[in-house]
């Protein structure tokens, strides 16, 4: 599990009312439940099924992911800067495991 590592590229600072693009990636195999291993056994489904982005405690963007999403899921999304604060990004795995990342944003 330690290999699963979330990453995010967020500008450190932005202007007021600027729309920034946030790029995220999490290293994850996204087992779809349809692939067999070398012994012919089906690898059980294990995917990241939800991504959510909060800013200062408010939900600003979420994605529901299905097995059709590639391994190491990449997601980019927009955010309009209204105030300085902290992003909290959460990836939820089947079975309830969560991977979190926090990043702060300054307004110049």
């Amino acid at each position: 599990m330690s290999k699963i590592k979330p990453r995010a590229k967020i500008p450190k600072e932005a202007e007021l009312d600027e729309v920034i693009e946030i790029k995220t990636l999490i290293r994850h195999p996204m087992h779809s439940g349809r692939v067999k291993d070398v012994d012919g056994k089906t690898i059980p489904r294990l995917i990241i099924n939800k991504f959510s982005a909060m800013f200062n405690g408010k939900v600003v963007f979420t994605v529901n992911l299905e097995p059709s999403i590639s391994s190491n899921p990449y997601i980019s999304f927009p955010f309009k800067v209204k105030e300085a604060g902290t992003f909290e990004l959460t990836w939820e795995e089947d079975g309830g495991n969560q991977y979190k990342l926090t990043k702060s944003l300054k307004v110049v």
Binding site: F55, V63, S68, P78, F79
Partner: protein, 139 residues
């Protein structure tokens, strides 16, 4: 079913029903009872995907993204995959603009659908065909 399809023909998006029945059922479920809206949708997918394991899908939808008028949900569906649902994006007025991107698996050459739902209950459907050289669902 007949009643539903005739409603679709009235709103001028009959082409959507050409897809696999499962996909058109899902789309019917999402858009049932809502009006189609004329809006600029840019669905950015490759014409030919050499590797079906990593196919870029990006989109941009024209919207003020204000508290009173914004894109609420965007569904991506692939009609040739074992399960048609790919992802559902949930936007808020905090987004400022409506665009996003991700990467998906495609098992074979197929049609991709983007269904956008607006906060006033209207919707918009966009379709694109992707030729897949090597399928990406394992096996």
């Amino acid at each position: 079913m007949i009643a539903v399809s005739s409603a679709f023909f009235c709103s001028g998006i009959s082409a959507v029903l050409a897809g696999k029945p499962e996909v058109s059922d899902q789309i019917n479920n999402i858009v049932s009872g809502s009006q189609a809206r004329e809006v600029d949708v840019f669905l950015d997918v490759p014409e030919i995907a050499e590797n079906g394991n990593q196919v870029k899908v990006a989109f941009e939808i024209e919207s003020p993204m204000s508290d009173s008028d914004f894109v609420q949900e965007v569904y991506i569906m692939a009609d040739g995959n074992p399960a048609p649902n790919v992802a559902k994006f949930n936007f808020t007025p905090y987004s400022g603009e409506c665009f996003a991107s991700t990467r998906m698996r495609l098992s074979k050459t197929q049609d991709i659908y983007l269904i956008a739902k607006f906060n006033d209950g209207t919707h918009s459907i966009t379709q694109s065909t992707i030729k897949v050289t090597i399928g990406g669902c394992g096996g």
